[in-house]
C-alpha cells in the first residue's frame, strides 16, 4: 500500500498539450477513479503513473518519493489493461507468474502465489489454458490475477471492463469492489463509465480535455457537481438542465420556469428549501436548474408531507421509456426535454397530464455563463 501524489503534472505530444497540470493527492488504500470521455487523457495519466510514458512537467510521488525517473519495473505497481494484454503464447499460470519469474522469485514460492491468486479469482481450473481458449470474463480475471499476484503497492486499471458484455461488466465490477475491500491496496482506475466510477471509487477525478473538473467523493460529485459538465457526465439518465430565473415569491426564494403547454405560455414556481437562502443576490437573474431524474417523480402526497423540499406541479407526458424497475417519463420544462423517473405503476399514457413532484433540496443551480455551481 502506498500513497500517491500527482503534482502539477503536464504532458505534451509535440505541440499538443494533452494534460494541462493535474493535481491529485491520494492516501494509502484509496480507490481513485479517473473518469472522463474518450481522448481526455486518462490513459496518458495512468501510463505516466506506471512509468510507461515520460512526464513533461510536474512530479509524481509514490509514498513521498518522486518517481519521475524510476523505471516502471521498479515502481512496484501492477496494471490491468483494457485489452488485458495477456501473453498469448503462455498458459494462464505462466501469465500470472511471469512478473514473479522476472523478479526471480523461486519456483515453489511462485507456484504457491499463482495458485493462491488463481483460486481467489476462481480461475484455478484454467491454469493450463492459453488466453485464446478463454472467454472475455475469464481473460479479465487472468489479467487481474497477473496484477494481484505481484502484491504491488498500487494497482492501476485502464478500462478493464469495457470489453465485457453488460451482464459480465456488472459482475466483475462487484468483484473488483470486493477485491479492494479485501486487499485495501491503493488503486487507480480509468473508465468513461460513470456508473463504474460511482460504485467503485472512494474518490473520483473527473477529467475533461486534460484538466481536472472535480476531485471528490462519489457522493459529493453526484450531489454537488462542481459544474454543469460534471453534472451532465455523472448519473444515468443524466441530470436535467432547465433554464430558470431566481425569484422571490411570497417571501420565499425559488426558481421560476417558463413553459409552453399546448401553445399557452405559463410559468411554474418551485420554492427552494430554507438552507438555500445564500443565493439571495441571484434574484432576478437567470440560472440553470439541475434536477436529477430520480428526484423528479410522480406526486406522492405521503412523501410531500414528510419532506419539505418536495415541490409539486402538473405536466403533460411526452414519451415513456420503461426500463423494468422504473419508467423514464419525458416531459417538457423550460423548453427542454426533461426526464422523470417514475414507478411503472404510476405512469400515464403519452399525451396525458400527470402530477409530478421534485425534490428541490437535491436540486443544483448553475451559473449559465461559467457553468459553475452556485
Amino acid at each position: 500500500m502506498a500513497s500517491l501524489s500527482i503534482q502539477n503534472v503536464k504532458k505534451s505530444y509535440g505541440a499538443i498539450e494533452v494534460l494541462k497540470g493535474i493535481d491529485l493527492d491520494l492516501e494509502d488504500g484509496e480507490f481513485l477513479v479517473l473518469l472522463g470521455p474518450s481522448g481526455c487523457g486518462k490513459s496518458t495519466l495512468l501510463n505516466m503513473i506506471a512509468g510507461l510514458d515520460t512526464i513533461t512537467d510536474g512530479e509524481i510521488l509514490i509514498d513521498q518519493n518522486v518517481v519521475n525517473d524510476v523505471h516502471p519495473k521498479d515502481r512496484d505497481i501492477a496494471m490491468v489493461f483494457q485489452s488485458y494484454a495477456l501473453y498469448p503464447n503462455m498458459s494462464v499460470a505462466r501469465n500470472i507468474g511471469f512478473g514473479l519469474e522476472m523478479r526471480k522469485v523461486t519456483k515453489e514460492e511462485r507456484e504457491k502465489r499463482v495458485e493462491e491468486a488463481a483460486r481467489m479469482l476462481q480461475i484455478d481450473h484454467l491454469s493450463d489454458r492459453k488466453p485464446a481458449q478463454l472467454s472475455g470474463g475469464q481473460r479479465q480475471r487472468v489479467a487481474m490475477g497477473r496484477a494481484l499476484v505481484r502484491d504491488p503497492e498500487i494497482f492501476l486499471f485502464d478500462e478493464p471492463l469495457s470489453n465485457l458484455d453488460a451482464k459480465l461488466r456488472v459482475e466483475m465490477r462487484t468483484e473488483i469492489k470486493k477485491l479492494h475491500q479485501r486487499l485495501g491496496t491503493t488503486m487507480v482506475y480509468v473508465t468513461h463509465d460513470q456508473i463504474e466510477a460511482m460504485t467503485l471509487a472512494s474518490r473520483i477525478a473527473i477529467l475533461r480535455a486534460g484538466e481536472v473538473q472535480q476531485f471528490a467523493s462519489p457522493q459529493e460529485v453526484y450531489e454537488k457537481p462542481a459544474n454543469m459538465y460534471v453534472a451532465g457526465f455523472v448519473g444515468s439518465p443524466p441530470m436535467n438542465f432547465v433554464p430558470a430565473a431566481v425569484v422571490s415569491e411570497d417571501g420565499k426564494l425559488g426558481v421560476s420556469i417558463e413553459r409552453t403547454a399546448n401553445g399557452n405560455r405559463s410559468s411554474v414556481f418551485l420554492a427552494l428549501p430554507d438552507d438555500r437562502q445564500d443565493i439571495g443576490d441571484w434574484v432576478g437573474r437567470d440560472v440553470v436548474l439541475g434536477i436529477r431524474p430520480e428526484t423528479l417523480t410522480h406526486r406522492s402526497d405521503a412523501e410531500i408531507s414528510l419532506n419539505k423540499g418536495l415541490q409539486a406541479f402538473d405536466c403533460q407526458v411526452e414519451v415513456l421509456e420503461p426500463t423494468g424497475a422504473d419508467t423514464l417519463t419525458y416531459i417538457e420544462l423550460g423548453g427542454r426535454e426533461v426526464i422523470a423517473r417514475v414507478n411503472p405503476y404510476n405512469t400515464t399514457a403519452p399525451g396525458e397530464t400527470m402530477a409530478f413532484m421534485v425534490d428541490m433540496g437535491k436540486a443544483s443551480l448553475f451559473d449559465p455563463k461559467t457553468e459553475l455551481r452556485i
Binding site: 501510463n47 519495473k73 505497481i77 495477456l86 511471469f98
Partner: protein, 302 residues
C-alpha cells in the same frame, strides 16, 4: 406509406446469383487444374517411360527412378538441397527477424535502410549472380581486397572449394531473400499490441526478454509463412546455381532443379528428368501439404 409488393423469385437469374461465385472461380481453377495438375500428371506419366529426345508414351515401370537414385549427381543434388535448404531457411529467418527487430527500434533513416534490405528481391539472379561471382572469387573479390589491405594470409575461397561452394549459394540466397523476410516480420511486429509490451515492462522483463519470451512466440504464424515461402524458393532455386557456380566446382553445387534441367534438355533424357521432377514434387508435397492443411484449419476457426 404505400404497400410495396414483394416480387416472386425468378428462376434463371436466381440460379446465376446462387452460382456466380463458382462461375467466377471456375476459370482460375480450370487453368490451375490443367496447367498445374494436368502437367504434373503428364510428367508423372513420362517418368514411367523411356523417353529420351522427345516424349514417348510406352510404360516402362520404375526404370527411370531406379536409375535416378543410382546416379551420383542426383544424390549430390538432393544432399545439396538438404544442406542448402536448411541453412538458407534458418539463416534467412534469423537474419530477417533480427533486422526487423533492429529496424523496429525507432531508428533513424528506417525507410532508406528498409529499401536497401529489400531491393535484392527486385533483381533477378541472372543479373546479380555475376556480381556475386566476382565478389566471392578469391582472385578478384573480397579475398584479394583484404589481402591488398595487408592481411596476406587472409583466405576466403569458398567459391572454388567443392566442400564449401554450397555455402556461397547460401550467402547469395540469403542476400536475396532475407530482406523480404525482414519485411514480413516488420509488418507483423508493427501489429503487436503495444499494451502487451507495456504489461511486460511492468512485469519487469528486459527488452531482450520481451522479444524472446513474448513477442517472437506470438509471431509463430509469420515464422510459418516465412518457412514456406523460403522452402518454395529453395526447391525452385535454379538461376542462383546457374549464375553463381554453374553447379561447380565439379557438380558439387548442383540442385535438383538443375539436375532435372540438365537431364531433360542437355542430355536428352526426358524420362529421367521427369522422374527427378516427380521426386522434387514429392519433397515439396511432404512439406507443403501439412502446411496447407493446418493453414486452412486455422482459417476456419479464426
Amino acid at each position: 406509406m404505400t404497400q410495396k409488393s414483394i416480387p416472386a423469385p425468378k428462376p434463371l437469374s436466381d440460379w446465376f446469383r446462387r452460382n456466380v461465385a463458382k462461375l467466377v472461380v471456375a476459370p482460375t481453377f480450370g487453368l490451375i487444374i490443367f496447367f498445374v495438375y494436368g502437367f504434373i500428371a503428364w510428367t508423372g506419366y513420362v517418368s514411367f517411360t523411356k523417353s529420351k529426345m522427345l516424349p514417348t508414351y510406352s510404360f516402362e515401370g520404375f526404370y527411370q527412378y531406379i536409375r535416378l537414385w543410382k546416379m551420383t549427381p542426383w544424390n549430390v543434388a538432393m544432399e545439396n538441397l538438404l544442406v542448402f535448404g536448411s541453412l538458407f531457411i534458418v539463416i534467412a529467418i534469423v537474419l530477417g527477424c533480427l533486422l526487423a527487430i533492429a529496424l523496429d527500434q525507432k531508428v533513424r533513416a528506417e525507410g532508406a535502410l528498409r529499401t536497401v534490405y529489400l531491393y535484392p528481391m527486385a533483381i533477378s539472379f541472372i543479373i546479380t549472380g555475376t556480381a556475386w561471382k566476382w565478389i566471392l572469387n578469391p582472385g578478384l573479390g573480397i579475398q584479394k581486397l583484404v589481402q591488398s589491405w595487408g592481411w596476406e594470409s587472409f583466405s576466403f575461397d569458398w567459391l572454388i572449394n567443392s566442400e564449401m561452394a554450397v555455402y556461397t549459394l547460401v550467402i547469395a540466397a540469403v542476400w536475396q531473400s532475407s530482406g523480404f523476410v525482414m519485411a514480413l516480420f516488420l509488418a507483423a511486429l508493427r501489429g503487436v499490441d503495444s499494451e502487451i509490451i507495456k504489461a511486460a515492462y511492468l512485469d519487469g522483463a528486459s527488452l531482450s526478454r520481451i522479444y524472446l519470451v513474448i513477442i517472437l512466440p506470438t509471431l509463430r504464424p509469420v515464422f510459418l509463412s516465412c518457412f514456406f515461402i523460403l522452402t518454395h524458393m529453395a526447391v525452385k532455386s535454379f538461376d542462383l546455381v546457374v549464375a553463381l557456380t554453374g553447379g561447380g566446382p565439379g557438380y558439387s553445387t548442383i540442385m535438383p532443379a538443375n539436375f532435372m534441367y540438365e537431364m531433360t534438355f542437355r542430355r536428352n533424357q526426358i524420362g529421367l528428368g521427369a522422374a527427378s521432377a516427380m521426386m522434387m514434387l514429392a519433397t515439396v508435397m511432404a512439406i507443403v501439404i501439412p502446411y496447407l492443411y493446418s493453414e486452412l484449419r486455422e482459417k476456419k476457426n479464426g
